[in-house]
Amino acid sequence: MSALARVAVPSLALARRTLRGALRRPQFLAPLVIMPTLFLAINTGGLHRTTDLPGFPKVDGFLDFQLAGAMTQSLLLGGVMQGIGAALEIEGGFFDRLVASPIPRVSIVLGRILAGTVIAAAQVLWFLVLGIVFGVTIHGGVPGALLVLSIGAVAGTGFAALGVLIALRARNASTVQGIFPLVFVVLFVSSAFFPRALLQSPASWFAEWNPLSYVADGMRDPIVGQVSATPVLEGLGAAALLVAAFVGLAVLALRGRLRTA
């Protein structure tokens, strides 16, 4: 068996298991889309005249603009779910079962993160369908929608890795739940819900450096207009950066945890 297969086979088996568990526990899965959907409904219902502000980007409607924000929020919640799932495995002893198995250590982390990728794509798809049902036109067409899905799936992978990283450091689900609201602060100092150009300092400064701004703008661009290279590539780049950083840190956290066990 090649080195790649030695990592891929158990990682995919564990990802399949995580997905199966997620589908069998809809009470964990549903909030990932229900809460952002409610936020979306409230925002677009009450703040739709925001688009009249001078300097607001040209969009068909506020829903078109907000859709990418709801997707980003949902993806972050997906990271929370993966973090809680990983922490519950540590608490319940299933993690020990995996550690005592003859699989590459990285597969223990990758299994759950890959499941996060699939769930992230499904979350983005939910909001695309929701938008279309409520009158949003995906200006980038099918290729644009696929780009949105791609950026979302990559970003979701990064958020899942962040969740696993926090779980490995915290080691219990309640701490993961307690830490994650801090992550949402980062979402609100990004351009996910409001155009970067209209933000005031210091929020504008934070948004400029916040990778979530680029993820949200990258997903927004193919929805509100024809696909343009810069925001999409920046979105993909920011999402890839999140994956590289958080997967790397999660693997290091696992190694550190096993070394000090």
Binding site: V9, L14, R17, R20, G21, G92, F94, D96, A100, R259
Partner: protein, 342 residues
């Protein structure tokens, strides 16, 4: 003896300032069932967790099938099966799905995964429940599934950490039968337990651990022979009978030894049952009323008491097989069965 399946030399583990395992030396031969007996907190689980590579030793070293647990953990993991104290199973998956996952994690070829899983599920008597989610299983069924999962890759060495704690007598008997079958098949089994009878019945050799140290080791028969004579457990009537005075009254007939829970005086006797009548008479003459007197052959608990100066905590014995009066605890409860004085 051929190369040991398990060998530890001065194995130690400390958690901060607490020394959980304080220099354990043991060697388990291939095909042997080794019972690791001790009370809660003695260091049994910590030792097992080091041997299965979940904890790093802080001193000494250990090898499994010739591979060092700290330096060659991947080699060790390929050769061991592990069923830890709490059957850590994914309750959302079915028994078959979990077996197949375990098979995949152990690198079993895809075409043999399903038949191997089905074979082991049948072996532990779970065929009818294989398609049910594990969350619906009783405690005994989970332990049996856990055991089957540990066997999926036909390990050279199987670690069972308190496999029957909290089980009802029927489930316990099933697991015992499976351990016996594994012994017959030549699998090395390292079994931790706090049940005297379990160690006595299943283990070829027993190591007794107390406060992180191995205090005795040998076959159950040899260990009991070390203690030697049977003893009389004497229970006197009254709220707080004077055990010292009673001891003085019976001392001419044998040697006083550590009394178990609920027993007023324990007396090691050379004459066996013949000592009962004179002992009762002596107590009567000293003004004591005897509520009960029992001749007890040496048990592993006596060995434990002899070696450590105290009885095994709770002096728990496993409920005898087929005992209709044995109390069957809730199979889902984690608590061990009520203690029975040895």
């Amino acid at each position: 003896m051929s190369k040991p399946a398990i060998e530890t030399v001065d194995l130690q583990r400390a958690f901060g300032g607490i020394k959980a395992v304080q220099g354990i030396d043991l060697a388990v031969a291939p095909g042997e069932v080794y019972g690791f007996l001790g009370p809660n907190g003695a260091g049994k689980t910590t030792t097992v967790r080091m041997l299965v590579t979940l904890l790093r030793p802080t001193g000494g070293h250990a090898t499994i099938a010739g591979f060092d647990v700290a330096r060659q953990p991947a080699e060790v993991r390929r050769r061991i099966g592990v069923a830890l104290q709490e059957a850590a199973l994914d309750l959302l998956m079915t028994g078959r799905e979990l077996m197949e996952l375990q098979a995949t994690l152990h690198g079993i070829p895809r075409r043999t995964v399903a038949p191997r899983a089905a074979e082991l599920i049948a072996r532990v008597g779970l065929s009818n429940a294989a398609e049910r989610r594990v969350g619906t299983y009783s405690g005994g069924m989970r332990r049996r599934l856990d055991l089957a999962m540990a066997l999926i890759h036909e390990p050279e060495v199987l670690f069972l950490d308190e496999p029957t704690t909290g089980l009802d007598p029927t489930s316990r008997t099933t697991l015992w039968e499976e351990v016996r079958r594994l012994r017959d098949e030549g699998t090395t089994v390292f079994l931790t337990t706090q049940y005297l009878e379990e160690a006595d019945v299943l283990a070829d050799r027993v190591g007794i651990i107390d406060a992180g140290r191995l205090v005795a080791e040998g076959t159950p028969a040899a260990l009991k022979a070390e203690v030697g004579l049977p003893h009389l457990d004497i229970t006197l009537l009254g709220d707080a009978p004077d055990a010292d005075a009673a001891g003085r009254a019976v001392e001419p007939f044998g040697k006083l030894c550590l009394a178990g829970p609920g027993v007023t005086v324990s007396l090691r006797v050379a004459d066996g049952a013949a000592a009962i009548a004179p002992v009762v008479r002596a107590l009567d003459e000293a003004g004591f009323a005897v509520e009960g007197i029992e001749l007890v052959r040496p048990t592993l608990d006596d060995v434990f008491a002899e070696k450590t100066g105290h009885r095994l905590e709770g002096a728990e014995t496993a409920a005898p097989e087929g005992d209709p009066d044995a109390e069957a605890p809730d199979p889902d409860a984690g608590a061990p069965p009520p203690p029975v004085p040895a």
